[in-house]
């Protein structure tokens, strides 16, 4: 069946659910073929019938404006940082100044007596460990931030400092490096890998490094807390409203504070990128200060705290040795990597694109190494951009040894059929052959180069678990407006717009009739915005809610018109049969004085095998290198990215383009610089920690590749993370092409470029 979404028979719920659908995608270009196939899927009883590759959409896939664009552009949108209440207090945290040791003394008395101070709480007790520079010690609230700062300076905190280390390569667990930065240790024996290496036509070994990147969300972490008896209302800058609710209820309960309910708001969030899953110590401190002062309290981190206490993408060291046979097929892949973590020694794991070496003898080893620094947090595709940089650069070096073009080498080895189409499509769009064969003039100051890299991610969404599936509320109001609500948060990805568009599609009305609300825990439960799962997880619940609402409205209209329910459809802003129908607004008047309200749920993905698990993409980059100064300018990029069903096309493109710009930043600018002596970050601001600005913007283009995977009623997959896996790798390869020597260490700074040129 190839349902028109707006005319699905909402009354088919009781029928057998096994159904045949068409999955795959249409040809990307005239020179390619359609990749469509029929599969049988088995939706659960009660779910909305599936959309598929042949569904004719009216709203989905079009360029609807971001629903909360105007509030953001006018400055009316209220982020947690913007909440103001009468008598609201400002607050900040005293941070430990040593990287490792023990809190020896803490005297808060003088601070408590300072003018305008309303609460002071200890966040550590004497004898507690200090684990990094910036570990939270105490918190203060007061009338203004200036007065709070005055009081913080009066807190007497004393420390017993221990020997610390903030450089993971100095740790005894780290491998030794030779003078060129290569891992200088024997490989353990592995019969299969050793045999493949011995039999190979070409072998290669390379060591790659990446540095710590901070999330640098523009809205810092923080909250506004307001108590009403035992109820806590909190405005949080978070990517997990329900996570914050549970975490604070537990943490306050553990401190013997009675809390009946925690109500979390995150209607607008100024970015997260993986750093804002937890309420954190700043959330707990804010709740405690508000409780003690009996006043609303705002506690937002400053930029130095953001860089030094709110997580990061950890650094990495990777060494690969690999081999190809005479046909350019990879036969051996031996990988060992090390993650440079914070004090908890976790989160440094590095992944690599394993679809290139599916037939090779492979081995993968990884070790996380702790330092006395702020712990890693998941950051936009955790472990991927690091590993992709190492692996994709290694591929180009190996291809060079085998005398193959990097693209041809990938086409030979990439086991993902969908990406083979993407490689060819994107290479044509980018003009790969011409650019790759361009010869820089000998001795020229400016040289150009091009490179490519793949993108991969594995998310088709979650349903929330057996006990509590994700939900969605849909209301049809008597005035003809529709409201769809989720308690999950939109951190800038466009979730609200996605909810709006899916609702409109299912009901057959223009998107302008639908309001979508997100980010308040009073609404149905939804996922945290992590792992690129939000849209993929929420979309089927939106459809189900709208599908149920449609069924109820159809019942009313059928009774009103005196026609059989099964003949009534919604579409083109009308409800009725071919002969008799009501306009949408007239139909909605039948719901009576109160809105028609239904609750949809997120059914598990179908038990059947989807067309493709996860998502893939490919990116191409062009750079211009100044061989005199070593400056790398990324001049042009093209990316193709699939995310299952493309719902809000313009917004999806924004995310891909944004991921590419962030990737440029990771490739050539970003690096946390630590002072080994003090254990302190030396560039914890936006002056010395550089993120890409408008002048770093390359000419950017992307193509959204909509794919019907047939895994649930909608077929959306993840998007936030996948495009960020490829960018730095593609740029690294372009620099290699331009200067003829690899720079194997991110960020690709002028000094490293000059050193690579000198080493040729």
């Amino acid at each position: 069946m190839h349902p028109d979404p707006s005319t699905n028979d909402a009354k088919s719920a009781g029928l057998p659910r096994a159904t045949e659908i068409t999955v795959g995608y249409k040809a990307l270009s005239p020179s390619q073929k359609d990749r469509l196939q029929k599969i049988e899927v088995n939706p659960e009883e009660g779910d909305a019938p599936p959309w598929d590759a042949l569904t004719k959409y009216k709203t989905v896939g079009t360029d609807v404006d971001r629903i909360d664009g105007m509030p953001k552009a006018t400055g009316r949108a209220k982020y947690a940082y913007d909440m103001n209440f009468p008598d609201m207090q400002q607050a900040m945290i005293l941070r430990g100044s040593i990287a490792r040791g023990v809190l020896k003394g803490l005297n808060l008395d003088e601070a408590k007596a300072m003018p305008g101070i309303t609460a002071v709480v200890a966040l550590k007790e004497v004898g507690n460990k200090i684990r990094f520079v910036g570990d939270a010690v105490a918190a203060v609230s007061g009338k203004t931030l200036d007065l709070v700062r005055d009081a913080i300076e009066k807190i007497r905190a004393e420390y017993d400092a221990d020997v610390h280390n903030v450089d993971f390569l100095m740790d005894e667990q780290a491998p030794l490096l030779d003078s060129k930065g290569n891992v200088d240790e024997e490989w353990d024996e592995d019969k299969k890998v050793d045999a493949a290496l011995a039999a190979a036509a070409h072998t290669h070994t390379g060591t790659y490094r990446t540095e710590v990147q901070t999330h640098s969300s523009l809205e810092p972490h923080g909250n506004v807390c307001k108590w009403d008896g035992n109820n806590l209302e909190i405005w949080a800058s978070t990517q997990a409203t329900f996570g914050v609710r549970g975490e604070l209820a537990r943490a306050l309960g553990a401190r013997n504070i009675k809390v009946e309910s925690v109500d979390v708001h995150a209607e607008f969030v100024g970015g997260g990128f993986g750093s804002k899953f937890s309420a954190g110590i700043e959330g707990l401190a804010c709740a405690l200060l508000a409780h003690e002062s009996k006043l609303p309290v705002k506690l937002m981190l400053d930029r130095f705290e953001e860089h030094t206490t709110a997580g990061n993408r950890p650094s990495s060291l990777m060494q690969v040795r690999g081999a190809v046979d005479k046909d350019g097929k990879i036969t051996a892949w031996d990988w060992r990597s090390f993650g440079g973590c914070g004090y908890n020694g976790r989160g440094g794991s590095v992944r690599y694109p394993n679809y290139y070496m599916s037939d090779a003898a492979t081995r993968r080893k990884h070790k996380d190494i702790a330092t006395d620094a702020d712990p890693a947090r998941s950051m936009r595709a955790p472990g991927y951009p690091q590993g992709w940089f190492g692996a994709e650069m290694f591929l180009d070096e190996l291809a060079a040894k085998a005398g193959m073009d990097p693209l041809a080498f990938r086409l030979r080895n990439d086991a993902e059929a969908m990406r083979l189409d993407q490689w060819q499509f994107a290479a044509d769009k980018f003009g790969w052959d011409k650019a790759r064969n361009h010869k820089n003039e000998r001795g020229a100051r400016y040289v150009t180069g091009v490179g490519c890299a793949s993108a991969r991610w594995g998310q088709l969404g979650r349903h929330g678990g057996r006990r509590q599936r994700y939900g969605m509320t849909c209301r049809i109001h008597p005035d003809g407006t529709v409201e769809t609500r989720s308690g999950a948060q939109d951190i800038g990805t466009g979730l609200k717009t996605v909810i709006q568009m899916l609702t409109a599609e299912e009901l057959g009305v223009p998107a302008s009739r639908v309001r979508a609300m997100c980010g308040h825990t009073a609404d149905p439960i939804g996922p945290a915005s992590g792992g690129s799962t939000t849209t993929a997880s929420i979309a089927p619940a939106v459809r189900h809610a709208a599908f149920l609402a449609k069924g109820k409205l159809i019942d009313l209209v059928a009774a009103h018109l005196g026609v059989p329910v099964k003949d009534v459809t919604c579409g083109n802003d009308k409800v009725g049969t071919a002969k008799a129908s009501l306009s949408w607004t007239d139909a909605c008047k039948l719901v009576g004085p109160n809105p028609l309200e239904v609750h949809g749920e997120r059914y598990p993905n179908y038990p059947d095998k989807p067309f493709h698990r996860g998502v893939c993409g490919a990116q191409f980059a062009e750079v211009r290198v100044d061989t005199w100064t070593g400056e790398v300018k990324v001049t042009r990029m093209f990316g193709i990215q699939d995310c299952g069903l493309v719902i809000a096309k313009k917004l999806a493109e924004s995310q891909v383009l944004g991921a590419m710009i962030q990737g440029v930043s990771y490739a050539v600018h970003e690096q946390r610089i630590m002072d080994q002596r003090s254990g302190r970050m030396l560039n914890g601001d936006f002056l010395r920690y550089k993120i890409s600005g408008i002048k770093d913007l390359p000419e950017l283009e992307c193509h959204m590749h909509s794919v019907a995977n047939g895994h649930n009623n909608t077929g959306a997959a993840g998007l936030g993370e996948p495009p960020s896996t490829a960018t730095a790798a593609a740029i690294g390869n372009a620099v290699f092409h331009a200067i003829g020597a690899p720079v194997r260490h991110l960020p690709i700074t002028p000094e490293k470029v000059l050193a690579a040129i000198a080493s040729k």
Binding site: G69, T74, F304, L657, I694
Partner: protein, 202 residues
Amino acid sequence: MSHPPDHGVSRRSFLKGSAVVGIASTGITAATKAAAGPPVPESFGPGEHEITLLVNGKNKLVKVETRTTLLDALRDRMDLTGAKKICDRGACGGCTVLVDGSPTNSCLMLAMDAVGTELRTVEGLSNGDDAHPLLENFVKCDALQCGFCTPGMVMSSIACLEKRGKPSPDEMRQDLSGNLCRCGTYGRVMEAIGRTANGGNK
């Protein structure tokens, strides 16, 4: 946050120490430019005192300390939260407002020093459903994602348009080089400026 003790003189204590100098020059500006405002006292502080700021065409009384930045005065004392505090060090442009038509980092300006100037904030660009075409083009071009840098981007874009009429891409890059965006909206911000300059067309 409180910086570790070895950090030396903090910016705030520096501001406290240098406030008197700042006020003296403000006094001259205020006397010559804002005759309608209250007389500027000869010395201030410690503690708060009242000043008049001309924001989006309206005179507003606001209580500040001498060390209060214009950004804090707008956000915390006047509930004008469009301008954002992102770096608080003049490095990101998130707090950009127009001071006598010039894009200015309000985190680096004392509220006192804004007495007698004409201030424009992002809130002045819309009134209910009635919004400046630039804002509509920001939405049309999807020149915003999380939206936190957006008010600053908008104010720098307005200044660019007012100064140059039809800015070239290089001129846009020059005028917006002080505004950081982490989501990566730069290209679409340039589209929105271009569209506005061309009366809504690409």
